[in-house]
Amino acid sequence: MTGMIERAPIEILGWFLGLLGSFGVPGWILAAVSAVIIIGTVIGIFLGLFALTSVMERKILARVQNRYGPNRVGPFGLFQPVADGIKMITKEDLVPRTADKAVHFLAPVVMMVPALMVLAIIPYGRDMVPAELNSGILYFFAVGAGTEVAVFMAGWASNNKYSVLGAMRAIAQMISYELPLVISAIVAAMIAGSLSPSAIVAAQGGFAFGFVPQWFVLTPWGFTACLVFYIAALAEANRSPFDLPEGESELVAGHLTEYSGFKYATFFMAEYVGMFAVCGMLVTLFLGGWQAPLPFLTIVPSWCWFFAKVCFVAFTMIWVRATLPRLRIDHLLAFAWKFLLPMSFAAFLSAACWHYAGRGPLAWLLSLAIVGIPYLILGNSFTNRFAVSRRTYQFSE
């Protein structure tokens, strides 16, 4: 029974293609139709998640801030995205007179396309990857680099010095945080022995001692790498506390200042879809993908577990947004280069030592030490920088 529910999406697609094939449709059209259906489903699911998240984020933020969120449109305000969509579509599309029209128009497109393309390699369930790539992780980061070009295009094309400043800060932030992101992802790929997401998920299967899941996040190096990936993902998606580029109180809206109406909605959508994509990648790399946490919970279908985990990670991102104040740009960059990057290298080294020390109890202790000591050293090195010392004056001679 559970096997049926689990394989339901694949079976339905197969039945439909078989139906088409029985009408004499040639093979290549069937392949194209299959691709279109899969792409449509994935994009549909993620856009639906985007709509739901945009309202749930506002409601969760509101509950933390002692107020209700949107609760007028629809039951518990759940139709708010419809109202927002209507507003965005009917808003006037302002393009500054001296703006670079072609680049200004293309920037939202260039932002949205990588965000959607990246959803192709995430395994949503057992055997449910839209595109089975051998180097899927590399594809993820290569395509994600396209987002930076879009941010620059948006900032520069607006012909507005605040937009350019915001875009430069945004790009500096994204480039700085790309290194810890990639290295912490490589940690998981290294231990799993493959760059393919399905192989990484499969490497986290099985249960130690019969009931403990073997997810990477439950190891010292995996936990560190997961945290580094999470923080770097927050920064890549320009989400609080790293949302200086688009903070409303800082640079109006940074590189998005001159965008209104549907183009702004596209940027907004791309940001959320990117957030979900990177949550999906985090779940795949460290949280076991579609694996169930306990042996008897495998009755729940694999894609249910995947989406539950992704929603949980997205919820923590919203939770973090509600809790933390925004980081200043120099703090942000210092944090990336002086803390996250060394920690990601420490996790890398720790994972390698864990593997070559035989994965036994000694290996666990060793990997814990290799991760813990840099953490303590780096953590304490930050506080001394801001210690107040006796003021000295230097006069020009």
Partner: protein
């Protein structure tokens, strides 16, 4: 099917040539930089279509993600006011002279490529795990290349840090 297979390489190659040509000809510097980025993307797709997945993705990651941004930052930080006007050309060759020089460079490069021993060897069979094979080669036979690149990158990073450091009193 073979026609489709070839078009996967020929179409991005055509885009690559057009974008590269456009980036040379365009007056607006930022437009030229963006066309160059498009040519990088097209080159990455050509690599992927030729079967070199790893190189293709790395091309996208490094060139589009980092080098294109570097070019753009360099333009923005050095000449933000004269973006639309092309500067005076360095030499008196003019477009015809430039095209002739480019063609001559192309002929020389092709001569070297086709006369190298790599072109004479038959194509090796594609490895079953290409990434693993590349990694093994980099750590085994070609480790000198890896170390040299590492030293180069470290020198660049140290240089950048020195340049950016404030002068201490």
């Amino acid at each position: 099917m073979k026609i489709i297979g070839e078009w996967f390489v020929l179409l991005p190659a055509a885009v690559l040539l057009l974008a590269a040509g456009a980036s040379v000809v365009m007056r607006n510097l930022i437009h030229a930089a963006l066309c160059l980025t498009l040519s990088f993307i097209a080159l990455g797709i050509v690599f992927i279509a030729l079967g070199a997945e790893f190189v293709g993705f790395v091309q996208l990651l490094v060139y589009v993600g980092a080098v294109a941004m570097l070019i753009v930052f360099a333009i923005l930080l050095t000449r933000p006011d004269r973006l639309t006007k092309s500067g005076t050309p360095f030499s008196g060759l003019g477009p015809a002279g430039g095209a002739a020089t480019g063609f001559a460079a192309l002929v020389v490069l092709l001569a070297f490529i086709f006369s190298s021993p790599l072109a004479k060897k038959p194509l090796p069979a594609p490895a079953s795990a290409p990434v693993a094979a590349i990694g093994g080669a980099l750590m085994g036979n070609d480790v000198v290349a890896l170390i040299v690149i590492g030293v180069l990158l470290t020198a660049a990073l140290v240089g950048a840090a020195v340049l950016a450091m404030e002068d201490k009193p």
